[in-house]
């Protein structure tokens, strides 16, 4: 019953986070989806990843989305799509059917006994040590790029910030002049 509830929560919250018009509400639905995904990961035996997903997916990422949405203010998110809806739904439905057929045919219903010769910590820090090194480099590169992006705003002249506004070109021109 719990697993069925988790799957239902994931489907409903995911669809709502895509369909809702307000970005703040979409971030909240995304957080609930992450929590349900973490519970499914815990049920599958991936306890460490479940904890990381719960802390990052439910804590960090929605807070960043809320921060970004509050910086940008209210805006329209319900724009007509370029791809026709029937084509998109048909393609996605075909992909989901193929993916489901492949997964249900190949993944055994009962989990294979895990080889406990190497623990998760040993695997992460020794066998996959290069991955951890690259992850550290990526974290620093990400932080530096974000700082660079956000600091570039203060250096940008006013004309650059206003002259390319496509919604109000008259106001932008008058402001530049």
């Amino acid at each position: 019953m719990l697993t069925v509830s988790l799957v239902l929560v994931i489907v409903i919250c995911t669809a709502l986070s895509i369909r809702t018009k307000q970005l703040l509400i979409a971030a909240l639905w995304l957080a609930i989806t992450s929590a349900a995904a973490a519970a499914i990961l815990y049920n599958l035996g991936a306890h460490e990843i479940a904890v990381i997903e719960l802390s990052v997916g439910t804590g960090l990422v929605p807070v960043l989305f809320v921060f970004a949405a509050s910086l940008m203010g209210k805006q329209s998110t319900f724009l007509p799509s370029i791809v026709p809806h029937s084509l998109a739904y048909g393609l996605v439905l075909i992909c989901m059917i193929i993916l489901g057929a492949m997964l249900f045919a190949t993944v055994p219903a009962q989990p294979t006994p895990t080889d406990d010769a190497t623990s998760f910590t040993r695997m992460l820090w020794e066998t996959r040590g290069l991955d951890m090194l690259i992850q550290g480099v990526l974290i620093f590169a990400g932080v530096l790029s974000i700082l660079n992006l956000l600091s570039a705003l203060r250096d940008a002249p006013l004309s650059v910030m206003t002259s390319t506004d496509p919604r109000n070109p008259k106001a932008a021109k008058s402001e530049v002049v």
């Binding site: 799957v7 990961l41 989901m96 997964l103 998760f120 992460l124 066998t127 991955d131 992006l149 956000l150």
Partner: protein, 110 residues
């Protein structure tokens, strides 16, 4: 009505990847596109754990999933920073308008 955790995981993978890809196809707001990308990547993480569960190499699958989780979070963070900058400089997050924008032609040298 009960299903096994493996079947629940497979169903969750199908739902998350399907809805995420559908969002990537249909949405035009940059922030909503990042949300759709996050949703699809959660399905990929569960699929990685399912693969480790099926092959008996759960520790390897968890280490790969940790790497993927970090990269996914970095993509979201950098995408959000880019979205903030685009909104401040261009005034819109509509992907169609952002794609149509280009620099004005440069003046010929004197």
């Amino acid at each position: 009505m009960t299903i096994s955790p493996v079947d629940a995981g497979i169903t969750a993978v199908i739902a998350l990847v399907g809805i995420g890809v559908c969002g990537l196809l249909l949405l035009r707001n940059l922030l909503k596109v990042i949300i759709a990308l996050q949703i699809a990547s959660k399905g990929v993480i569960i699929a990685l754990i399912l693969a480790g569960n099926a092959s008996g190499q759960m520790n390897l699958a968890q280490s790969l999933a940790a790497t993927f989780l970090l990269i996914d979070t970095l993509v979201a963070v950098i995408g959000l920073a880019l979205a903030v900058q685009l909104h401040r400089t261009c005034g819109t997050l509509d992907l169609k308008q952002l794609t149509a924008m280009h620099d004005p032609p440069s003046s010929p040298p004197e």
